[in-house]
Symmetry: C2
Subunit: 90 residues, 2 copies
């Protein structure tokens, strides 16, 4: 199944705002590194925040730690005026 | 469908090496920013390379630009000795 189907399954109507989604998974071999997802999480959020406004109410972060796979889901709603790098303070 | 099913569908046998997968999608509103995925690609690869050895033959990067959605898929096989930060030069 291509990644496009995974994302577009969340609703086919045109979206009113841009949306950025990141799914990260670390599949571990026996005895592999354990917390790579936790390590990458902050740095990936910092990379995103350099390019789009990331405020508490427009970002959702979810981490799941399974036995063999740990995952991180980040979803950011991008306000339409976001093209102006300096967001107007509320 | 939870993200775990998306990743674990790629084979249920325990993996011999750690594997890191990142799926990134930018769903654009009409007239939204166009190349956010291209902008984020290099910086996310740089974040990964800080923590695991990223060599040409153990990383696969795929970008798809659709009308409403652009996606980036990154898959990194992590050599089992990767815990030693300084990889032994070949």
């Amino acid at each position: 199944m291509s990644i496009l189907q995974f994302f577009s399954r969340k609703g086919s109507a045109p979206v009113a705002r841009d949306r950025l989604q990141i799914l990260l998974a670390h599949e571990r071999a026996v005895g592999g590194q354990n917390d790579l997802v936790g390590v990458l999480r902050e740095e990936i959020l910092a990379v995103i925040a350099k390019h789009v406004p990331v405020e508490p109410d427009n970002v959702r972060v979810k981490m799941e730690r399974g036995e063999a796979i740990s995952t991180l889901e980040v979803e950011v709603d991008i306000p339409s005026q976001a093209k102006v790098r300096v967001a107007l303070s509320a």
